[in-house]
Every structure is written in structure tokens, then in C-alpha cells.
Subunit: 219 residues, 2 copies
Amino acid sequence: MRASERAYRALRDDIVEWRLPPGTLLAEVEQSGRLGVSRTPLREALGRLTAEGLTTAGGRGVMVTAISLADIDELFELRETLEGRAAALAAERGEPATFRRLQAALLAAPALVTGDTPAVEDYYGLVSDLDAAIDSAISNSYLVQAMRSLRVHLVRIRRMAADNAARLTAAAAEHAAIAEAIADRNPRLAQAATTLHLHRSLSHIKATSTSLHNTSTSP
Amino acid sequence: MRASERAYRALRDDIVEWRLPPGTLLAEVEQSGRLGVSRTPLREALGRLTAEGLTTAGGRGVMVTAISLADIDELFELRETLEGRAAALAAERGEPATFRRLQAALLAAPALVTGDTPAVEDYYGLVSDLDAAIDSAISNSYLVQAMRSLRVHLVRIRRMAADNAARLTAAAAEHAAIAEAIADRNPRLAQAATTLHLHRSLSHIKATSTSLHNTSTSP
DNA sequence: AACCGAACAGCTGTATACACCAACCGCCGG
DNA sequence: CCGGCGGTTGGTGTATACAGCTGTTCGGTT
């Protein structure tokens, strides 16, 4: 694999996993030494990160961007616009059988997040499958790319919130409702179910991330 | 100005103005010689162009991407989603006086595109002012950035279509209707006016670009 | 003691040299 | 005559050296 790609993925993962907290200065020589690549591919990686909005290139060096509550509101406003439309388009153009299968899997998902050995990653994999199925169904590469650029930020936000079993169980039901509406070829219902899910998700994030925000800004 | 920025703007302008037609291979050494910069900043410029979708980096070198009619359909599908929502948000949050002024200017715009010395650039400037006013009113940087990344492609498409005085006159009235709905703080009407305008615009492009497409694909 | 200025240090921006890779072209065998 | 194959050539990917700039800090001045 190319060195620039390795550097990009390593930095992106470090940022979304909060190993590189907001405000961290990413000096080129320092990071190139840490990641074992030269400055040239590292610069390319930093450029990609900055284009995505994960870092900002101001004055001296690039810094990991902060995420304020206002940013989360804006992000979800755009997300509702894009994913609502995407769900509606998927209902118009998707293969019902695919989404019927996903609906069944999501209805069984609560068993994944409760119990002794919660397989939360498997649940997230299911959600990714639904996203991928929607992406494939709408057959609009520009819309897909716009949503993809949002998902990076959303993963970062997810790590900020406290995902407990109760919320994940409810979210699985909401996702199942979206899949069902798409399988039923009902665009308006699919969009409404998406809107509902995103509002619930945003409410949960805002309710649980406030405390995190307070602790992170304590001296 | 930085060399990488100069190279980026020069290449982007060359592409959207169709001086570099689709399929052109942008070899690094060749372009760096043509633009008078070294390969390093040129690579950064090519990376930005590829991230925006104006070029594709496949195999040997980057190529200027083609725009098919399907691409235009997809682009306008996303555009309607984003700009419709943007217009609605502007109606909710914007300053009515600003859009009232723009409405008046747009109602007087037909005089710009008809007559002996058509000031088409002035008309496009007015449309840009309306876009900027909407961007400023919605106060959502993520949505603004998503629309901005679309506008580059739209300029390229505009050069493909034949903008005659009749279409520009009608478009001015459609833009005035959008501005009026925002000034009236009527989100649903603003969204509907945007949808109408984009559909008319797309119809015009498809009607006039077909012949161009045929000539460009002739042996 | 506070403020201003200039030298300094570290960084980014750019240019260039080298290694590797992938596509083309000619050649050989079937 | 056609298909597979190795040499060749130009390209990209990477590393490094140098120049310019910006933020900092120390010293002097008021």
C-alpha cells in the first residue's frame, strides 16, 4: 500500500478515535517520524484530512478541529437532508428483497447489544450494511459521496456519546422501520422514518455528550 | 500566492472552461512545465481536483473526467436536495430586507441580458449574490460547503449549454421568485420555487446540450 | 515594570533526485 | 496470422535538500 494512504488512514483513525484530541498540532516532521513515512506523502494525507474538515490548516501547521455542539447541530441538519432524500430514493429504486432481509436482521439486533457478551461491532456492521444497501440502491454517486464525507465526522461524534444498550436497542428498531419503509417502496414513509431516527439520535448525543464536554473542558 | 494554489486555480479554470476537454491526460511533468511550478505543488493541485471529482486518478496519471447526461441528472438530483433545503432554511433564518433587495434587482435583470450590449456577466454576478446571501443566511457551514463543491461542476455544465437571452430572462424571474419567497419568510414556497427553477434549468440544459454532445462524439 | 523590536529557531513551501511500477512495443512461438 | 511475453520507456511515488516565512523570545528602552 502507498505510504500516503497508510499515513492518511492512520491519522484519520487516530482523530476519529480521539487518540488525537481536538487542538492537537500535527507538525509535519513530527508526524512523519511517528508514522515512518516521509514528509511528501504525509503532506498529501494532511491535505486530504483538511479537505474533509477533520483538520484545519491555519498559520503554522494543521490542527485537529474541534467539534462544538453547534457543529453537531449543523452536521445533523445536513445529514437529515441527505439521508432523508437517500431513503426516499432507495424506496423508489431499491430492490425490496434486500431491504426485507435487512429489516429482519435489524429486528433481531437487540439480542446483539444485550446479554453477557455484547457484540456491538456486529450491530454497527448491520447498520453499515443498511447504509451500503441504500447507497447502492439510489445509484447517485454524487449523493453517495456527500453522505460518505459526512460519515467520518459522525463516527467521531459517536465516540463522544455514550452508546448504551437501551439506546442501541431503540436505534435498531428505528433502522428496521427505515428498512421496512424502503422494502414497502414507500418514499415518504422512508424519509419520515429517517427523520425520526436522526432526531432521536441527535437528542441522545446532546443529552450524553454535554457531560463529556464539561469534563473535557475542565482544567 | 502559493504555487500550489496558482496551479490549482489554473487547472480548475482550464477544466471548467473546457480548455482541457474530458479525457485529457494531465501528466505531472508536462503540466508542471506548462504552469511554471514544480511537481510537488502540482501534485497537491491534482489531489484537490481529484477530491472534487473534476479529475480521476486511475492507473497512469490523472484524467479530466467526462460529464455524461446521467451525471447531470445525478448532479441536479443532489442539487435540488441541497438547494431546496437551503432556500427553506434561508426563509426561516434570513434577513428579509436583504432578499427583498435581491428580488428587486433580479426583476430588473432582464434588461441586462437583452439589448445591444448584453451584460451577461453582471447577471451571473446577481445570481452569485443571491447564492451568497442564502449561504450567509442559513449559517450552516457543512451545508454551504456541500453546495460549494457542487457549483464547480455546475459552472462546467453551464458552459456546455447554450444560454440564450430567453432562457436567462426566464431564469431571472425564477430567481426573483425564490428571493421573494425567502423575503416573505415562507420556507415551503422557497423550496418549491427552487425545485421549479432547477427543473426548468435542467430541462433547458438537456434540450440544448444534446446537440453539443452529438457533435463532441462525432468521429 | 511594561512594552517594543530584532534576532533566532522551527516550521512550512518548494524544488529536485532517485526508485519502483505500469503500460506500450516489438519479438517469438504456436 | 494471432496470442503470449519480455525489454524498454515514460510515468508516478517517495525521499531529501534548500529557501522563505512566521511565531517566539530575549534584550533594550521608556
